[in-house]
Amino acid sequence: MDTTMRDGEQKAGIALNMSDKIEIFKLLDALNIYQVEAGIPAMGGDEKRCIAKMAELGLKSKVSGWNRMVLEDIDHSLDCKVDILHISVPCSDIQIYSKLSRDRHWVVENLRKCIEYAKENGAALSIGLEDASRADIDFLLQIVFLVRGYGINRIRFADTVGIMMRSEIYEAVKKIKEEAGIGVEVHAHNDFGMAVSNSISAVTAGAEFVDCTIGGIGERTGNCNYLHFIKAAKGQLGIYDNLKLDEAVYLQDKILKIINKN
């Protein structure tokens, strides 16, 4: 899974234009990335037009749009006709109380509203557990069961501020898999240099999807670096035998040239 053009582009100072993003999308497709998180349609303007264009191209990589738990955001994603509509749900008390000035009950009810609205409009959904690493595991499971009840088959476990230890993420993902039997996507940040090892750990616990960015770019210290993850997965897990590293390096370098051109 790639989030270069969403979390990656959120790195302070990066500003890609439409032709940059389309070119990057094509290169990611050449890397056989399963799903590309193309951006935030609710930003409107060129960003929204660009995401719609990517969805229209009909390449192998699925296109997803990132949304807050806000109906207007969902409308923007629906306009873009993305393959997957991702709704991010603040799950930790610090995010719910400090950022949103709400409570857990509001989060649950608002999530229901957003899911029902999106499904009524025919959207395929994935749900993100924002700041899952600092959230109460029982509340996380409550959200996961709610999501599964709507027939949604994937959640994103986000270590939003990069503080998780790899044994902790292993236990959390394992618990979610065992108790809810839902697909898990891991989204790690690199604040203590552990985004790759946490992603590997999540995979050993059963996570089927790993969010990466090219060059590891992203908020603050960035996200799980795609190339580093592939190297670690090959070396530690013995997977991706069919992936040629030099080809990945070549394509990554082309993408980084576009991102760093200014």
Binding site: E9, Q10, K11, A12, G13, I14, A15, L16, N17, D20, M43, G45, D46, E47, R68, I94, Q95, S98, K99, D131, T160, V161, G162, I163, M165, R166, S167, Y170, N190, D191, F192, G193, M194, V196, S197, N198, I200, S201, T204, G216, I217, E219, R220, T221, G222, N225, H228, K231, A232, G235, Q236, K261, N262
Partner: protein, 345 residues
């Protein structure tokens, strides 16, 4: 020194960067190196690894520092005796390793034997190697293939079987060194060997500044270490090594506390903990709001307030649109002067 709060014991921190920096010269580099060590000591490093490549002036100028000397041959022992260094490390691969170990022990010097282990088989072999009991400490390096929850069990068995102190020095071939070091801080390691910036060796090591900051902010907030000079230490590291610190490098990177996206700017304004793992001041950094393509109204408002610019709320949306368009056009965020130009236009 760090605290293993789970087992209520102290863990010694060794930094092995000095031999990697090629400090054989004289003058400014030596003074800077000594100053660098003093800042790391303040931040929690207990001991510095040195070897015969380092200018001995460093040992002389750093009377209040503790060193562990890497012995490469019998001749190195005279340098150890000259500077009254009480700790040494030897690689089992060096010629006459057993003789060296014997001589160190007979002089009352605490000897660490360094062994590389990549997997379970080697750890089991170490556990059964009776000769290793002669050492004061075993340093296990490598560990590139150890996944979560895998190797602590063997670490405990090695200590129990050999009656030694255990030093863990994970390598970073597969980007797991920090993870392993922090696991061992909370489990069976008595000593952690790390390197500033993770510098050195074939694949690098766990990064000192990242481990110390994680120890203080995540593992044990009561840890009595002062990290505020880590950023300055980063500057000296750049001078001594000639390596530029990448902008996104954890703890030290110049971009890591910049924020732009509307959602993050809003969250940080309300409570920085929403999107920061720790206060940047802790490590001598500061947060900085940047305005560009991903900014929201609140961020623009904040920036205008900071620039003491008067504005009407009704104009903010138009200004935001202009900022986003300009940012996309130039492919980066806007400098303050460029924001002011847009305001005036």
């Amino acid at each position: 020194m760090l605290t293993n709060i789970k087992k209520n014991k102290k863990v010694t921190i060794i930094d092995r960067i000095l031999p990697e920096l090629g400090l054989s010269g004289t003058g400014a580099a030596i003074e800077q190196a000594v100053f660098f060590c003093s800042m790391l000591k303040q931040a929690g490093v207990d001991m510095f690894e040195v070897d015969n490549s380092i200018n001995e002036d460093i040992l002389g100028l750093s009377r209040d520092m503790n060193f562990i000397f890497r012995i490469k041959s019998m001749e190195d022992i005279s340098c150890v005796m000259k500077h009254a260094i009480r700790h040494c490390i030897i690689d089992t691969e060096i010629p006459e390793a057993e003789k060296v170990l014997k001589k160190l022990c007979s002089n009352g010097i605490k000897a660490t034997v360094e062994i590389r282990a990549e997997g379970k088989e080697k750890l089991l072999e170490i556990r059964e190697t009776a000769e290793l009991r002669k050492a004061h400490c075993i340093r296990i390096t490598g560990l590139n293939h150890m996944l979560a929850c895998q190797w602590d069990k063997y670490a405990g068995e090695i200590k129990a079987s050999l009656g030694v102190t255990l030093d863990c020095c994970p390598e970073n071939r597969f980007y797991s060194a920090n993870a392993i070091a922090l696991e061992m801080l909370m489990e069976n390691a008595d000593i952690l060997t790390v390197s500033f910036f993770g510098y050195g060796g074939l694949w690098g090591y766990a990064a000192t500044e990242e481990i110390l900051t994680a120890a203080k902010t995540v593992v044990n907030p009561k840890e009595n270490i002062d990290l505020k000079n880590l950023n300055r230490a980063g500057g000296i590291f750049q001078f001594l090594s000639g390596v530029k610190i990448p902008p996104m490098k954890p703890v030290l990177g110049e971009d890591i506390f910049k924020y732009e996206s509307g959602i993050h700017a809003d969250g940080i304004e309300k409570n920085p903990r929403t999107y920061e793992p720790f206060d940047p001041c802790l490590v001598g950094q500061e947060r900085r709001l940047v305005v560009g393509k991903h900014s929201g109204r609140k961020a623009v408002r904040q920036k205008l307030d900071k620039l003491n610019v008067e504005y009407k709320e009704n104009d903010l949306d138009l200004l935001l649109k202009s900022i986003r368009e300009r940012s996309i056009q130039i492919g980066r965020s806007l400098h303050d002067i460029e924001i002011l130009e847009l305001v005036l236009s």
